[in-house]
Amino acid sequence: MSRRPALSTATPSGIEVPVVVTPDMVGTRDPGVPGEAPFTRGIFADGYRGRLWTIRQYSGFGTAEESNERYRFLLERGQTGLSVALDLPTQCGLDPVDPMARPEVGKVGVSLSNLAEAEILFDGIDLSAISTSFTINGTAAIVYAMYCAVADKQGVPRAALTGTIQNDILKEYVARGTWIFPVRPSMRLIADTILFANEQTPRFNPISIAGAHVRDAGASAVEELGYTLANGLSYVEELLKRGGDAAKFCRRLSFFFYVHMDFFEEVCKFRAGRRLWARLLEERFGITDPDAQRFRFGVVCGGSSLTAAQPTNNIVRVGLENLAAVLGGAQSIFTAAYDEAFQIPTETSAEIALRTQQIVAYESGVARTVDPLGGSYFVEWLTDRMEEETRKVIADIDAYGGVIPAIEDGWLQMRIAERARQRKEAVDRVETVVVGQNVFRRPDGNEDLGEVFRVDPQAAQRVREKYEAIRARRDDAAVANTLAALEAAAGKDDENLMPHLIDCCHAYATVGEMVAALKRVWGEFQEPIRL
């Protein structure tokens, strides 16, 4: 028999929770109304009645053909937005024939080395009717250029494009690792995409400032929010330096978080995040335009809160996380499949994950009224506490001299590693309970993982054949000219690289070639290794 664990009295971020919260303990007696700054209760007056969150399942593997088939499968079943998973060579800017890329082609996402592959990926999918999110960072500008080029080819006006590129390089240096260039030219490239998007694709989100990966790596919910907002402030500073119009670019900044298992901490993280972002923009930059202060965010439910032990338990975890995301007011939600902890989802598990959101949206009734938890003594108390604690995290970074030096020195990376170790030790000591893994394990130890998904082992070979074919077919002079123009522009700080990248894409230059051209000018990030 498993022993019964003790109930914890503090949230995972370390906030001690009173056994009961009474009205006299609540600082924010009146959290205001949704749709009005500082947006504690939501960014829109009509909540989900005006517009339901976007149901957007992260997906992609192998070849563009296979992924296109999976997207059509999900769209037929009621998914409302695409979320493209790209393989590591594409994320790191290497072509599929690069020796370093070879073992990784098509493994964790789809291989997208040039425009011909993007045309296949979106074949039969009308880009004016669907929004597409790309989890892409080091090569985000290139993938965004490719998406604009596909729209050009489909005859869809760029102004009609909706979707998101993650394009948040700062957290890549800290937690996710697909950086390519040094920090400062990377910030310039991000500013280029945002300024270009404001003009050419005004409905497209050119950045999704993401705390999710830092969180999954080990940070607490408070640290996730603090690091994300600190990164957000750095991008605002960069854009202002470039002469950007805050009223314009702030409207297109979006955010991305994990939802883990501590229900109220997650709900209050989002309520606190909305309020704090609006306040920080005003305090630091004097931005008071409510449209610019709206904190729009997507979430992923699952990640490291899921277990390989008794994986079907993950369906329940994701359901609860989905509910927390909705009560927190998320604009787009990805619910992970129960087998995501150990493989690319099967069609069965992907369908359950999608149905989870549809059940929450259409059966539970929770989307009927905005911020139904608003005014709860406990929820308002915890929202205030989360905001206070998050401010401390941001103050620590400010005290270090800002996010950029903290990353260049490896200080932030080390903090995350230390927190990851503490989190792991808390699980090992059963101070953090993980049902089925460290308590209530199956007595027979039988871990049936169910249906197994394997990427087609021939996929990588097909990708390489297609790659060689396009290189043989394209106009070499056009490739050379567009790449040379890109390289020349990269050397000038005041020239936006986006038009050049789109030209390269139209010429069927490859991701690896574009990255190589930029590396010649900017060099590569030198990872600070600190233990």
Binding site: L88, P89, Q91, C92, L94, P99, M100, A101, R102, P103, E104, K107, V108, E172, A175, R176, G177, T178, A217, G218, S304, T307, A308, A309, F342, Q343, I416, A417, E418, A420, R421, K424, E425, D428, Q437, E447, L449, V452, V455, E527, I529, L531
Partner: protein
């Protein structure tokens, strides 16, 4: 349990950028007394084997979460043999499906570690395998 006097290289082969598990293990091994070197991200099997031999380590820990473990572990083992490092114990950690564990062990890997294992158990296995 003490890994005092043991030298261990923690390495990230391939393009996978998830390094927190590698760092957590590195910190735990260091606290257990080992002299730990960490390669940083995106290293080739050749590079890892060369550093392992040059630094005269007792063990190499490879961290892989992208599903490319079969190819990259085999390459690293081969490079170690080619460079005269066949005595160096190789351990693998990360997202490794259970059906792949046996093949890795047969290929010469001395331990496969997944996220559900306790840190102290991982350290104990390495300690035992290195015959401290």
């Amino acid at each position: 349990m003490s890994l005092k006097g043991k030298r261990i290289l923690i390495a990230k082969p391939g393009l996978d950028g998830h390094d927190v598990g590698a760092k957590v293990i590195a910190l735990a091994l260091r606290d257990a007394g080992a002299d730990v070197i960490y390669t940083g991200l995106r290293k080739t099997p050749e590079y890892i084997a060369r550093i392992a031999v040059e630094e005269d380590v007792d063990a190499v820990g490879l961290s892989l979460l992208s599903g490319s473990h079969n190819e990259l572990v085999a390459d690293t083992l081969r490079c170690l043999r080619d460079m005269g490092g066949e005595d160096i114990a190789v351990f693998v950690g990360g997202t490794i499906p259970s059906e792949d564990h046996a093949a890795l062990t047969e290929a010469g890997v001395r331990g496969v570690f997944t996220a559900d294992l306790k840190l102290e158990d991982v350290v104990a296995t390495i300690d035992r395998e290195l015959g401290a």
